[in-house]
Protein backbone atom coordinates (compact mmCIF):
# COMPACT_ATOMS: atom_id res chain seq x y z
CA UNK A 1 0.00 0.00 0.00
CA UNK A 2 2.60 2.52 1.12
CA UNK A 3 4.77 1.32 -1.74
CA UNK A 4 2.03 1.95 -4.29
CA UNK A 5 1.56 5.48 -2.97
CA UNK A 6 5.23 6.15 -3.16
CA UNK A 7 5.32 5.02 -6.72
CA UNK A 8 2.38 7.20 -7.72
CA UNK A 9 3.78 10.23 -5.97
CA UNK A 10 7.15 9.81 -7.64
CA UNK A 11 5.47 9.53 -11.03
CA UNK A 12 3.55 12.75 -10.50
CA UNK A 13 6.64 14.64 -9.57
CA UNK A 14 8.52 13.25 -12.54
CA UNK A 15 5.53 13.78 -14.79
CA UNK A 16 4.97 17.39 -13.87
CA UNK A 17 8.50 18.52 -13.39
CA UNK A 18 10.51 17.14 -16.30
CA UNK A 19 11.18 19.29 -19.29
CA UNK A 20 9.64 18.17 -22.54
CA UNK A 21 11.68 18.07 -25.69
CA UNK A 22 10.32 21.36 -27.02
CA UNK A 23 13.15 23.68 -28.00
CA UNK A 24 11.51 25.93 -30.54
CA UNK A 25 13.23 29.32 -30.57
CA UNK A 26 10.38 31.09 -32.27
CA UNK A 27 6.78 29.98 -32.45
CA UNK A 28 5.45 29.18 -35.91
CA UNK A 29 2.80 31.79 -36.74
CA UNK A 30 -0.74 30.45 -37.11
CA UNK A 31 -4.18 31.77 -38.01
CA UNK A 32 -7.30 31.13 -35.94
CA UNK A 33 -10.52 30.84 -37.91
CA UNK A 34 -13.61 30.40 -35.76
CA UNK A 35 -12.79 27.71 -33.22
CA UNK A 36 -10.09 26.16 -35.39
CA UNK A 37 -6.53 26.49 -36.62
CA UNK A 38 -7.16 24.92 -40.04
CA UNK A 39 -3.56 24.90 -41.30
CA UNK A 40 -0.99 22.47 -39.85
CA UNK A 41 1.90 24.12 -37.97
CA UNK A 42 4.48 22.11 -39.92
CA UNK A 43 5.08 21.09 -43.53
CA UNK A 44 5.32 17.39 -42.68
CA UNK A 45 2.14 15.60 -41.59
CA UNK A 46 1.89 14.46 -37.97
CA UNK A 47 2.63 10.86 -37.07
CA UNK A 48 -0.22 9.28 -35.05
CA UNK A 49 2.04 6.62 -33.49
CA UNK A 50 4.39 9.27 -32.15
CA UNK A 51 1.33 11.26 -31.07
CA UNK A 52 -0.01 8.34 -29.07
CA UNK A 53 3.35 7.85 -27.36
CA UNK A 54 3.40 11.57 -26.47
CA UNK A 55 -0.13 11.56 -25.03
CA UNK A 56 0.66 8.54 -22.88
CA UNK A 57 4.01 9.96 -21.69
CA UNK A 58 3.66 11.57 -18.30
CA UNK A 59 6.07 14.35 -19.22
CA UNK A 60 3.59 15.60 -21.84
CA UNK A 61 1.09 15.97 -18.92
CA UNK A 62 -2.15 15.03 -20.80
CA UNK A 63 -3.01 11.95 -18.74
CA UNK A 64 -2.31 13.70 -15.47
CA UNK A 65 -5.75 15.24 -16.08
CA UNK A 66 -7.35 13.10 -18.81
CA UNK A 67 -8.09 9.42 -19.14
CA UNK A 68 -8.48 7.56 -22.42
CA UNK A 69 -8.18 4.24 -24.23
CA UNK A 70 -4.65 3.62 -22.91
CA UNK A 71 -4.81 0.29 -21.07
CA UNK A 72 -1.05 0.30 -20.40
CA UNK A 73 -1.17 3.64 -18.54
CA UNK A 74 -2.00 2.70 -14.97
CA UNK A 75 -2.47 6.14 -13.48
CA UNK A 76 -4.76 8.45 -15.39
CA UNK A 77 -6.45 11.63 -14.20
CA UNK A 78 -10.11 12.58 -13.86
CA UNK A 79 -9.87 16.37 -13.90
CA UNK A 80 -10.86 16.42 -17.57
CA UNK A 81 -13.04 14.52 -20.08
CA UNK A 82 -12.07 11.00 -21.19
CA UNK A 83 -10.39 11.25 -24.58
CA UNK A 84 -12.15 8.16 -25.94
CA UNK A 85 -14.08 9.13 -29.08
CA UNK A 86 -12.40 12.54 -29.45
CA UNK A 87 -12.10 12.03 -33.23
CA UNK A 88 -15.86 11.57 -33.54
CA UNK A 89 -16.71 15.10 -32.65
CA UNK A 90 -13.65 17.29 -33.08
CA UNK A 91 -11.93 18.11 -36.36
CA UNK A 92 -8.15 18.35 -36.73
CA UNK A 93 -8.43 22.14 -36.87
CA UNK A 94 -10.46 22.28 -33.65
CA UNK A 95 -8.05 19.95 -31.88
CA UNK A 96 -5.09 22.01 -33.06
CA UNK A 97 -6.57 25.16 -31.48
CA UNK A 98 -7.35 23.22 -28.28
CA UNK A 99 -3.77 22.12 -27.94
CA UNK A 100 -2.13 25.34 -29.07
CA UNK A 101 -4.18 27.55 -26.74
CA UNK A 102 -7.25 26.03 -25.07
CA UNK A 103 -7.93 29.33 -23.32
CA UNK A 104 -8.96 30.82 -26.68
CA UNK A 105 -11.87 28.44 -26.58
CA UNK A 106 -12.67 28.59 -22.86
CA UNK A 107 -10.96 31.45 -20.99
CA UNK A 108 -11.45 29.68 -17.63
CA UNK A 109 -10.10 26.31 -18.70
CA UNK A 110 -7.47 24.63 -16.57
CA UNK A 111 -6.04 22.93 -19.66
CA UNK A 112 -2.59 24.42 -20.32
CA UNK A 113 -1.80 26.16 -23.60
CA UNK A 114 0.74 23.84 -25.16
CA UNK A 115 2.02 26.18 -27.84
CA UNK A 116 2.36 29.54 -26.19
CA UNK A 117 5.32 31.32 -24.62
CA UNK A 118 3.92 34.64 -23.45
CA UNK A 119 1.46 36.02 -20.91
CA UNK A 120 2.59 33.49 -18.30
CA UNK A 121 3.65 34.25 -14.72
CA UNK A 122 6.88 33.10 -12.97
CA UNK A 123 7.70 30.38 -15.48
CA UNK A 124 10.50 28.17 -14.13
CA UNK A 125 14.00 28.97 -15.32
CA UNK A 126 14.24 25.72 -17.31
CA UNK A 127 11.02 26.41 -19.20
CA UNK A 128 11.05 30.18 -19.72
CA UNK A 129 10.47 31.40 -23.27
CA UNK A 130 9.53 28.06 -24.74
CA UNK A 131 6.21 26.35 -25.42
CA UNK A 132 5.35 23.10 -23.61
CA UNK A 133 5.34 21.21 -26.91
CA UNK A 134 7.00 21.85 -30.27
CA UNK A 135 4.99 22.44 -33.45
CA UNK A 136 5.88 18.92 -34.64
CA UNK A 137 4.69 17.39 -31.36
CA UNK A 138 1.37 19.27 -31.61
CA UNK A 139 0.90 17.88 -35.14
CA UNK A 140 1.72 14.33 -33.97
CA UNK A 141 -0.85 14.57 -31.16
CA UNK A 142 -3.53 16.05 -33.44
CA UNK A 143 -2.89 13.23 -35.93
CA UNK A 144 -3.40 10.73 -33.13
CA UNK A 145 -6.48 12.33 -31.54
CA UNK A 146 -8.44 12.31 -34.83
CA UNK A 147 -7.97 8.51 -34.94
CA UNK A 148 -9.81 8.15 -31.59
CA UNK A 149 -13.14 7.11 -33.06
CA UNK A 150 -15.72 4.63 -31.90
Amino acid sequence: MARAFLHIAALIVAGLALASGARADELVPYKVIGDTIPQPLTGTPGDPARGRALVVARTTTCILCHSGPFPEARFQGDLAPDLTGTGNWWSAGQLRLRLVDASRYNPQTIMPSYYRDDGLVRVGRNFAGMPILSAAEIEDIVAFLVTLRN
Binding site: I12, G77, N106, I110, V121
Partner: protein, 259 residues
Protein backbone atom coordinates in the same frame (compact mmCIF):
# COMPACT_ATOMS: atom_id res chain seq x y z
CA UNK B 1 -22.52 14.83 -30.90
CA UNK B 2 -20.97 18.12 -31.97
CA UNK B 3 -24.06 19.88 -30.61
CA UNK B 4 -23.77 18.09 -27.32
CA UNK B 5 -20.23 19.30 -26.99
CA UNK B 6 -21.14 22.87 -27.89
CA UNK B 7 -23.78 22.78 -25.17
CA UNK B 8 -21.37 21.28 -22.68
CA UNK B 9 -18.84 23.99 -23.47
CA UNK B 10 -21.44 26.73 -23.10
CA UNK B 11 -22.51 25.34 -19.72
CA UNK B 12 -18.89 25.25 -18.65
CA UNK B 13 -18.49 28.89 -19.56
CA UNK B 14 -21.66 29.88 -17.74
CA UNK B 15 -20.73 27.90 -14.65
CA UNK B 16 -17.16 29.19 -14.45
CA UNK B 17 -17.59 32.31 -12.25
CA UNK B 18 -19.36 30.31 -9.53
CA UNK B 19 -16.58 27.72 -9.59
CA UNK B 20 -13.89 30.38 -9.41
CA UNK B 21 -15.43 31.92 -6.32
CA UNK B 22 -15.09 28.37 -4.96
CA UNK B 23 -13.64 28.88 -1.52
CA UNK B 24 -14.34 25.95 0.75
CA UNK B 25 -17.03 26.67 3.36
CA UNK B 26 -15.80 26.14 6.95
CA UNK B 27 -17.88 23.02 7.56
CA UNK B 28 -16.55 21.36 4.40
CA UNK B 29 -12.85 21.78 5.27
CA UNK B 30 -11.02 18.47 5.47
CA UNK B 31 -7.50 17.58 6.37
CA UNK B 32 -5.38 15.60 3.91
CA UNK B 33 -5.74 12.80 6.47
CA UNK B 34 -9.34 12.16 5.35
CA UNK B 35 -8.14 11.50 1.78
CA UNK B 36 -5.64 8.80 2.79
CA UNK B 37 -5.98 5.04 2.76
CA UNK B 38 -6.38 3.07 5.98
CA UNK B 39 -2.71 1.98 6.09
CA UNK B 40 -1.34 5.51 5.94
CA UNK B 41 -3.89 6.66 8.50
CA UNK B 42 -2.90 3.86 10.83
CA UNK B 43 0.75 4.83 10.42
CA UNK B 44 -0.03 8.41 11.47
CA UNK B 45 -2.34 7.39 14.33
CA UNK B 46 0.05 5.06 16.10
CA UNK B 47 2.98 6.96 17.64
CA UNK B 48 5.09 3.82 17.63
CA UNK B 49 4.74 3.45 13.84
CA UNK B 50 4.65 7.17 12.92
CA UNK B 51 8.17 7.91 11.63
CA UNK B 52 7.66 11.62 12.42
CA UNK B 53 7.76 10.79 16.13
CA UNK B 54 11.50 10.05 15.88
CA UNK B 55 12.02 13.69 14.88
CA UNK B 56 9.80 14.82 17.74
CA UNK B 57 12.04 12.86 20.13
CA UNK B 58 15.16 14.47 18.61
CA UNK B 59 13.49 17.84 19.05
CA UNK B 60 12.77 17.11 22.69
CA UNK B 61 16.46 16.47 23.29
CA UNK B 62 17.44 19.66 21.43
CA UNK B 63 14.89 21.65 23.48
CA UNK B 64 16.81 20.81 26.63
CA UNK B 65 20.31 21.16 25.17
CA UNK B 66 22.36 24.28 26.00
CA UNK B 67 23.69 25.91 22.87
CA UNK B 68 25.23 29.09 21.46
CA UNK B 69 27.56 31.52 23.21
CA UNK B 70 24.91 32.36 25.82
CA UNK B 71 24.91 28.65 26.74
CA UNK B 72 21.16 28.52 27.20
CA UNK B 73 18.67 25.86 26.20
CA UNK B 74 15.15 26.60 24.87
CA UNK B 75 13.96 25.07 28.15
CA UNK B 76 15.92 27.66 30.19
CA UNK B 77 13.57 30.38 28.91
CA UNK B 78 10.40 28.42 28.11
CA UNK B 79 10.41 25.65 30.71
CA UNK B 80 8.29 22.60 30.03
CA UNK B 81 7.18 22.70 26.40
CA UNK B 82 4.14 20.57 27.20
CA UNK B 83 2.53 23.61 28.80
CA UNK B 84 4.47 26.60 27.42
CA UNK B 85 4.27 25.53 23.75
CA UNK B 86 0.72 24.15 23.76
CA UNK B 87 -1.29 25.92 21.06
CA UNK B 88 1.63 28.01 19.80
CA UNK B 89 1.98 26.34 16.37
CA UNK B 90 -1.78 26.71 15.80
CA UNK B 91 -1.20 30.50 15.82
CA UNK B 92 1.77 30.57 13.41
CA UNK B 93 2.85 32.32 11.20
CA UNK B 94 2.45 35.14 13.75
CA UNK B 95 3.03 38.89 13.51
CA UNK B 96 6.44 40.01 14.78
CA UNK B 97 6.27 43.58 16.06
CA UNK B 98 10.00 44.27 15.63
CA UNK B 99 10.15 43.01 12.06
CA UNK B 100 6.64 44.32 11.28
CA UNK B 101 5.80 41.18 9.32
CA UNK B 102 4.65 37.60 9.93
CA UNK B 103 7.27 35.00 10.84
CA UNK B 104 6.93 31.23 10.58
CA UNK B 105 7.63 28.83 13.42
CA UNK B 106 10.95 27.94 11.77
CA UNK B 107 11.85 31.62 11.59
CA UNK B 108 10.81 32.13 15.23
CA UNK B 109 13.09 29.29 16.30
CA UNK B 110 15.98 30.90 14.44
CA UNK B 111 15.14 34.34 15.90
CA UNK B 112 15.34 32.78 19.38
CA UNK B 113 18.67 31.24 18.46
CA UNK B 114 20.04 34.55 17.22
CA UNK B 115 18.63 36.83 19.93
CA UNK B 116 18.60 34.65 23.02
CA UNK B 117 21.07 31.85 22.46
CA UNK B 118 23.62 33.68 20.30
CA UNK B 119 23.70 30.63 18.08
CA UNK B 120 23.87 30.49 14.27
CA UNK B 121 20.63 29.99 12.31
CA UNK B 122 19.72 26.41 11.50
CA UNK B 123 19.39 25.93 7.72
CA UNK B 124 15.91 25.35 6.28
CA UNK B 125 15.05 21.61 6.05
CA UNK B 126 18.00 20.69 8.26
CA UNK B 127 17.36 17.81 10.63
CA UNK B 128 17.73 20.00 13.73
CA UNK B 129 15.32 22.71 12.57
CA UNK B 130 12.72 20.15 11.48
CA UNK B 131 13.12 18.28 14.78
CA UNK B 132 12.68 21.43 16.88
CA UNK B 133 9.68 22.66 14.91
CA UNK B 134 8.14 19.17 14.96
CA UNK B 135 8.60 19.02 18.74
CA UNK B 136 7.07 22.47 19.26
CA UNK B 137 4.19 21.89 16.82
CA UNK B 138 3.51 18.47 18.33
CA UNK B 139 2.54 20.24 21.59
CA UNK B 140 -0.43 21.65 19.62
CA UNK B 141 -1.68 18.30 18.33
CA UNK B 142 -5.49 18.46 18.52
CA UNK B 143 -5.56 22.26 19.02
CA UNK B 144 -7.80 24.16 16.57
CA UNK B 145 -5.97 26.45 14.14
CA UNK B 146 -6.49 30.19 14.70
CA UNK B 147 -3.51 31.63 12.79
CA UNK B 148 -4.26 34.85 10.93
CA UNK B 149 -6.74 36.24 13.47
CA UNK B 150 -4.37 39.06 14.51
CA UNK B 151 -5.66 42.21 12.70
CA UNK B 152 -2.09 43.28 11.92
CA UNK B 153 -1.80 40.20 9.69
CA UNK B 154 -4.68 41.20 7.46
CA UNK B 155 -2.64 42.58 4.53
CA UNK B 156 -0.37 39.52 4.61
CA UNK B 157 -3.29 37.10 4.58
CA UNK B 158 -4.65 39.03 1.60
CA UNK B 159 -1.28 38.79 -0.16
CA UNK B 160 -1.24 35.03 0.42
CA UNK B 161 -4.76 34.72 -0.91
CA UNK B 162 -3.82 36.60 -4.07
CA UNK B 163 -0.87 34.26 -4.57
CA UNK B 164 -3.15 31.25 -4.05
CA UNK B 165 -5.50 32.52 -6.78
CA UNK B 166 -2.73 33.50 -9.21
CA UNK B 167 -2.12 31.25 -12.19
CA UNK B 168 1.57 30.60 -12.67
CA UNK B 169 4.21 28.53 -14.37
CA UNK B 170 4.38 27.07 -17.85
CA UNK B 171 1.27 24.98 -17.09
CA UNK B 172 -0.54 28.16 -16.01
CA UNK B 173 -2.33 26.70 -12.97
CA UNK B 174 -3.16 28.32 -9.64
CA UNK B 175 -3.29 26.62 -6.26
CA UNK B 176 -7.06 27.24 -6.24
CA UNK B 177 -7.51 25.30 -9.51
CA UNK B 178 -6.45 22.11 -7.79
CA UNK B 179 -7.12 22.63 -4.07
CA UNK B 180 -10.44 24.57 -4.16
CA UNK B 181 -11.99 23.48 -7.45
CA UNK B 182 -10.76 19.92 -7.92
CA UNK B 183 -10.12 18.28 -4.58
CA UNK B 184 -11.50 14.74 -4.44
CA UNK B 185 -10.46 14.29 -8.07
CA UNK B 186 -7.35 12.47 -9.22
CA UNK B 187 -4.20 13.84 -10.80
CA UNK B 188 -2.65 10.89 -12.62
CA UNK B 189 -4.38 8.51 -10.23
CA UNK B 190 -3.36 10.29 -7.01
CA UNK B 191 -6.05 12.02 -4.94
CA UNK B 192 -5.94 15.82 -4.83
CA UNK B 193 -6.73 17.15 -1.37
CA UNK B 194 -7.76 20.59 -0.17
CA UNK B 195 -4.11 21.39 0.54
CA UNK B 196 -4.73 21.94 4.25
CA UNK B 197 -1.59 22.76 6.27
CA UNK B 198 -2.60 20.88 9.42
CA UNK B 199 0.21 18.38 9.78
CA UNK B 200 3.54 20.16 9.26
CA UNK B 201 6.30 19.43 9.54
CA UNK B 202 5.18 16.01 8.34
CA UNK B 203 6.55 12.72 7.14
CA UNK B 204 5.98 12.10 3.44
CA UNK B 205 6.47 8.56 2.22
CA UNK B 206 7.55 10.05 -1.10
CA UNK B 207 10.33 12.06 0.61
CA UNK B 208 11.17 9.30 3.08
CA UNK B 209 11.77 12.03 5.63
CA UNK B 210 10.16 14.88 7.51
CA UNK B 211 9.61 18.08 5.53
CA UNK B 212 8.28 21.57 6.06
CA UNK B 213 5.24 23.14 4.46
CA UNK B 214 7.61 25.31 2.45
CA UNK B 215 9.11 22.22 0.89
CA UNK B 216 5.59 21.08 -0.06
CA UNK B 217 4.62 24.46 -1.55
CA UNK B 218 7.85 24.61 -3.51
CA UNK B 219 7.15 21.21 -5.03
CA UNK B 220 3.61 22.25 -6.05
CA UNK B 221 5.17 25.29 -7.75
CA UNK B 222 7.80 23.19 -9.49
CA UNK B 223 4.98 20.83 -10.51
CA UNK B 224 3.29 23.56 -12.55
CA UNK B 225 6.73 24.49 -13.89
CA UNK B 226 6.86 27.77 -12.00
CA UNK B 227 10.01 29.22 -10.43
CA UNK B 228 9.62 28.25 -6.76
CA UNK B 229 10.18 30.98 -4.15
CA UNK B 230 13.26 30.61 -1.96
CA UNK B 231 12.83 29.19 1.54
CA UNK B 232 11.78 31.98 3.89
CA UNK B 233 10.70 34.30 1.05
CA UNK B 234 7.91 36.70 2.08
CA UNK B 235 5.66 35.16 -0.60
CA UNK B 236 6.01 31.66 0.88
CA UNK B 237 5.31 33.01 4.37
CA UNK B 238 2.20 34.82 3.06
CA UNK B 239 0.99 31.63 1.32
CA UNK B 240 1.53 29.61 4.50
CA UNK B 241 -0.35 32.26 6.48
CA UNK B 242 -3.26 32.23 4.03
CA UNK B 243 -3.37 28.41 4.12
CA UNK B 244 -3.46 28.47 7.93
CA UNK B 245 -6.25 31.07 7.98
CA UNK B 246 -8.11 29.00 5.36
CA UNK B 247 -7.78 26.00 7.72
CA UNK B 248 -9.29 27.92 10.65
CA UNK B 249 -10.80 25.51 13.19
CA UNK B 250 -9.12 22.34 11.88
CA UNK B 251 -7.04 20.54 14.52
CA UNK B 252 -3.24 20.40 14.27
CA UNK B 253 -1.85 16.92 13.53
CA UNK B 254 1.94 17.33 13.73
CA UNK B 255 3.70 15.11 12.89
CA UNK B 256 1.27 13.95 10.17
CA UNK B 257 2.05 11.23 7.63
CA UNK B 258 1.22 11.75 3.95
CA UNK B 259 1.75 9.56 0.88
Amino acid sequence: MIFWHAIAAATLLAAAPALLAGEIPPDARRSGYSFMGPDTRAMQDDDTSNPGMLFVLDGEALWAKKTGSSDKACADCHGDARSSMKGVAARYPAFDKVLARPVTLDQRINLCRANHQQAPALPYESGDLLALSAFVAHQSRGVAITAGDDPELKPFVAQGRDLFMQREGQLNLACTNCHDDNFDKRLAGAPITQGQPTGYPLYRLEWQTLGSIERRLRSCMTGVRAQAYDYGAPELVALELYLMSRARGLPMETPAVRP
